[in-house]
Amino acid sequence: QDSEQDDAAVGGDAEKTITVGFSQIGAESAWRTAETESIRSEAANRGVNLKFSDAQQKQENQIKALRAFIAQQVDAIILAPVVETGWEPILREVRSAGIPVILVDRGVNVSDDSLFATLIASDFVEEGRMAAMWLVEKMDGTGNVVELKGTTGSAPAIDREKGFHEILDAQPGMTIIKSQTGEFTRAKGKEVMEAFLKAEGDRIDAVYAHNDDMAIGAIQAIEEAGRTPGTDVIVVSIDGVRAAFEAMVAGKLNCTVECSPLLGPAAFDAIEAVLAGETLPKNTVVNDRIFDQSTAEAELPNRRY
């Protein structure tokens, strides 16, 4: 390993507080804020000096942040990449500076997987599959579905679409009759759903939203159109934020696939392990659970975000 000297330095001087740089995408949703919060509070718990950088959704800002972290000689870097591609050159630089990188949220597309220590993330494709399978079962394999996609071109939007379609395409009785981007927001989710309801009328049997926020927007649109979300129109989504659980308890949302943002503990475990010289598995998949109305009430009090 390149980072032998660093390891020695850390190992030799146990009480020296380590410094970790965290490059976060931004603060575009409550989910992401929860993730940031999880990593910050875990750093505080462990007495780690955390350098936080918010990239405001821009990859170049994340690259700048990594360069700043290199210059400041941090001990490790946590990176929540905004896209999967484009990390090769900067990660090479980080490696030659001997700093281990822990990826959270989603992977990176690099030719050499020694460029990062480990990835701690949910599998977006699997989330899409889980949602689809639940829906197929719920609807007995027949019905029309509309899809509210995430921001065009973003990794979760692409993967959650992929996984969902994979399952649904194998169901001759189920068709996705409309599909549009709701940009991961409540307002857009509502607007798009409104238009869908006008265009398709009562043909819509189910809504699949790439995140809870859009689902909540869609639920409002369904209600305003005079139909009952949860019964007339089945609503499934992904993320599992608190508001989604509240909606499930109220009977308006049928199902949500958890995509946990609480990656702090796992991330810092990984950092400690790497700094102690251990080799980690390249991929630590976060186990995502699926919740529906039957399990929602019990889970609601546990939701922190």
């Binding site: 942040a65 360069r67 896209v83 050159p89």
Partner: protein
């Protein structure tokens, strides 16, 4: 003489002073800030923004605006990546092709603006929609470029240094600091300064921005200049897209989202008037650097939450601009 220089370059000087001040304060405040690595990163990390901003400077000097640059970067980068990775082209060919496309795209926007007297804002906004849309149509997902040409370019400076018989350590340092992206940026900047101040095209750009009606009555080629200006901006943003692929070894249709605003802000902060006719290409470098310094300083601080980051950026910009205005006024008064 001094009075004249002061009068001519007063804004530039004020901007440079405040920029340097910002750099020094950040350097004193944050450990490691005064390192060469950080200094060179200002140029390489902001290269594609800077290149687009140089093109934008000309557009703004001519009294127009180009909102399509950010989308063009995304579009160019994904086209290059698709040509290289899917169609198997050599990257150099792909870049060339994209540069031609970008120039033509810019020229056609300029043509519409001139021929039908359309407002540049809407035409280029439509251009932004189109470029972004075409990027998505070409490939919705970002693509990694695995072609060996890219790492080769990245290693070029170090290789050249070795060829020049520098020691291995020195060559490595050269490789670390002399980023090809930064080199391209500085080249574009130099060409931009030359074009603006040393060619008829550049001077016509100022004239058209100063007063289009007068330029017309003075017998200047107003229409041609406008088309050229947008073509240049299209070229620059396509080049910025190519630099983006070099910067990240990837093409991404969402790259450069809202970058046009940063580019415009960099140009305007650099002292160029949005109404046209007044400003300097060199000022744009300062504008880009100022954004870079603010960003890097916040990264170095590392204690700000997401929202405080935004507030701090806004606040620093505000302080900076007020200082700039103040200096400008005092310098301006001193010279008359």
């Amino acid at each position: 003489m001094i009075a004249r220089l002061m009068r001519q370059y007063g804004t530039l000087a004020a901007t440079a002073v405040v920029c340097a001040l910002l750099y020094v304060i950040a350097g004193v405040r944050y450990e490691y800030f005064f390192s060469w690595r950080v200094f060179f990163a200002f140029f390489s990390d902001n290269a594609f923004l800077g290149i687009a901003a140089v093109g934008m400077t000309f557009v703004i000097l001519s009294g127009g605006i180009d909102l399509s640059v950010g989308a063009m970067i995304g579009c160019a980068s994904i086209i290059i990546a698709t040509l290289v990775e899917v169609a198997g082209w050599h990257p150099a060919m792909a870049v060339l092709c994209v540069l031609v496309l970008g120039t033509l795209f810019g020229a056609s926007m300029g043509g519409l603006i001139h021929r039908f007297a359309l407002p540049p804002f809407i035409v280029t906004l439509a251009g932004m929609f189109l470029a972004r849309g075409v990027g998505f149509v070409v490939h919705q997902e970002s693509i990694s470029i695995e072609h060996q040409f890219y790492p080769a370019i990245l290693d070029l400076p170090a290789g050249l240094a070795r060829a020049a018989h520098l020691s291995d350590d020195a060559a490595q340092l050269v490789g670390l600091f002399v980023q090809p992206t930064a080199v391209v940026f500085l080249l574009v900047l130099a060409v931009g300064i030359y074009l603006a101040h040393m060619t008829r095209f550049g001077r016509n750009t100022y004239a058209v921005g100063g007063s289009e009606d007068s330029a017309l009555l003075m017998g200047l080629p107003v229409g041609r200049t406008k088309v050229q200006v947008y073509a240049l901006s299209g070229f620059c943003s396509a080049l910025a897209g190519a630099v983006y692929t070099l910067y990240t070894f990837s093409g991404n249709p969402t790259a450069g989202t809202m970058l046009e605003l940063d580019a415009i802000a960099a140009v305007v902060i650099g002292g160029t008037l949005l109404t046209g006719g007044v400003g300097y290409v060199a000022g744009t470098l300062l504008g880009v650097l100022i954004f870079g310094i603010i960003q890097t300083a916040i990264n170095f601080d590392g204690s700000l939450s997401s929202w405080w980051t935004r507030i701090a950026i806004g606040f620093l910009l505000l302080i900076f601009i007020l200082l700039q205005r103040l200096l400008q006024r005092t310098l301006g008064n001193a010279s008359t």
